[in-house]
Symmetry: C2
């Protein structure tokens, strides 16, 4: 087991009606900017609940943060934060709104001239404007971690940022919001959380027995609840397991002490940057192809996963192969295509483009062994066309 530091000061308020805590969680004298996305919070009742809870606070709003939050949109919010001297941000939305708000919290105190440098130059955020979240779309775990991803379509880039300043002060996670989430987003959330676990688990056997067991527990839970969630997202217990699994998949815990992969995300981000494909779907495209390409290195762990999570039996070789197939079947069962060709007819030149993009920002050695080269990325993506 590798050495690790585990530090996560987020106050997670999980359950029905937890928004009632909002008024005491945000300082009484704070000037609050509520950030949100396309307006679904005005249909599902969350907007009214939040406004009601903050009726004694001074509150401004900024809507329109899109999926894969765009730098240009966020710069408009940043101008408001500075002009209005906002001192608390409240992200009400899913991973994109929360990630965008994390960027804003960091950029508000950034002393450089060009906030994009936070992403382009990998500047860690140690101090940021205080912020909280009200989660409306479980998937990314952003409500309980200190990372964010921001896109800039003008230059075709999607980049990550992080640092201890980016932990929300609190996160309200009320599973009743799940009932109003469209099927497409539920499927995305399941695949996103599932792949988050896989990126931290599907490497090679180590002595980290307990971490493996916890990761396998999240994967088993997601597989168990997936059909129930798609059929009846109003079932509170199912919704709660979904929300909690998405959180646990990327709140930092399961990555402690183990090697991690993350090559699926790195390659997937390029698909989103090029074609605006939903983040989760890019993961579903890359994962099977990458695991087949890296089969030999991942065989032992694939077999462990196949036996413990999928109850498969047989030789390591057979179980590992079947485990990849079954995982792809799982994505299909959620209505998610696993070939890039299903999303665009214009992908022939994309593998080379993606490899060149990754190379341009130094991501030339991906995966837990740091041995996936740009040439390998082309091979992996060619198999998805």
């Amino acid at each position: 087991m590798n050495n690790f530091n585990l530090y996560n000061p987020v106050n997670l308020c999980f359950g029905k009606d937890e928004h009632r805590q909002l008024s005491s969680l945000i300082p009484k004298d704070a000037k609050v900017l509520i950030t949100y996305g396309g307006g679904s919070i005005k249909q599902n009742g969350v907007y009214e609940k939040v406004k009601g809870a903050l009726k004694n606070h001074e509150v401004l709003e900024f809507g329109g943060i899109e999926p894969n939050p765009q730098y240009s949109t966020l710069l408009r919010a940043l101008a408001i934060i500075k002009a209005e001297k906002i001192d608390f941000l409240l992200a009400v939305g899913g991973g994109s709104v929360i990630d965008g708000t994390k960027f804003l919290a960091s950029a508000a105190l950034f002393e450089g001239e060009e906030p994009w440098d936070i992403l382009a130059k990998g500047i860690r955020t140690t101090k940021a404007l205080p912020f909280g979240t009200v989660l409306t779309l479980p998937a990314t775990g952003s409500e309980m971690n200190s990372g964010a991803v921001v896109s800039r379509k003008e230059i075709g880039q999607k980049r990550g940022m992080g640092g201890p300043g980016l932990f929300p002060q609190f996160s309200i996670s009320d599973p009743t919001v799940v009932a109003s989430i469209p099927q497409r987003q539920l499927a995305n959330g399941l695949v996103d959380a599932f792949t988050h676990v896989m990126e931290q688990y599907m490497t090679y056997p180590t002595s980290a027995t307990l971490q493996d067991r916890i990761s396998e527990g999240i994967l088993s839970t997601l597989i168990e609840i997936a059909p129930k969630l798609m059929n009846n997202p109003s079932d509170y217990g199912t919704a709660a397991n979904f929300m909690w699994s998405c959180n646990m998949a990327l709140n930092g815990l399961i990555q402690k002490g183990v090697p991690t992969d993350w090559s699926i995300h790195a390659i997937g981000h390029e698909i989103t940057a090029a074609y605006n494909v939903d983040h989760a779907r890019t993961l579903a495209i890359v994962l099977p192809s990458l695991y087949r390409f890296k089969f030999e290195q991942k065989q032992a762990k694939l077999a462990q996963y196949g036996r413990r999570v999928l109850s498969l039996e047989g030789t390591d070789f057979d179980v590992a192969h079947e485990a990849i197939d079954r995982t792809e079947d799982f994505f299909h069962s959620l209505g998610i295509e696993t070939k890039l060709g299903a999303y665009t007819t214009d992908a022939a030149s994309f593998p080379k483009h993606a490899a060149a993009q990754l190379e341009s920002y130094g991501a030339t050695r991906l995966g837990e062994h740091k041995d996936i080269t740009p040439a390998d990325v082309i091979t992996i993506l060619n198999a998805t066309l």
Copy 2:
């Protein structure tokens, strides 16, 4: 799944040589009191490492905090803290030293006249002297939670305290210390952690699927590593899983959203108060008897545990019964007796005494259903004689 708040701001520094972080974790100008126990830290090298790491800090010491830390001992340390104007406590030891130090951190800022009131009146600690820990004996999870238990032998009591002020600022958990722990303590640690999980898991089925999976993962890990740990505590991977499992068993995570029992602890505390039996051994005495007494209520969850953790097969009834037997066998395999009669020949009147003690501080309704009465406690304990 029940609503919950998850908040745990402890900075856990886990791994070999993590004590090197000490000098930067404690403020440079702090006047530090190192608290420890019977002196094992002077044999196993931990004392020298800690002193070396703090060579530029002003450091005082207080040794002699005993297993089941005694109020009278702690009052002597408290006098030093006040006389010397100590502003940072560093607990170097196991659960008893850490629990004792938590009491000191709370009592140092307590404004009442009698610090025992913190325990006797159940006063929650919201503010305390800042403190950190260097864990030398994995078992109780105290290094990453906000609870503590203190004994007062003059009145035959062992009582708990808690509150958000009792989280350590940091905890150094270096698995290499496990190599020098006596077999008796290793066995105690395994049983302690195992029972901590059981108190939060072995109730009745709920919709908390993920929490169950995580609890089962800790139980499976403890069973898997137990023989390896007893045979070769110097194996780093095994030691790390042991230390990490003990932490995860009681750092607050697995209790979120689920009913909890804790009757085994409540009854076990009385055995320690009366006979000074090691905490873990009191749990091993009470658990099988209590589960047999509460068989009907716990049958469904016992069966789930039997199938998932112990790989048993059969009807719920058969699997549940065998699961209790196997658990008792597990304790025996560690050299731990599960009958009170093995620890004392003077136990005939104890069941009534224990029930009266629990009644005297209002603990008259124990367990996840709050239905274990003093009369039931007598029945449960009579079966252990």
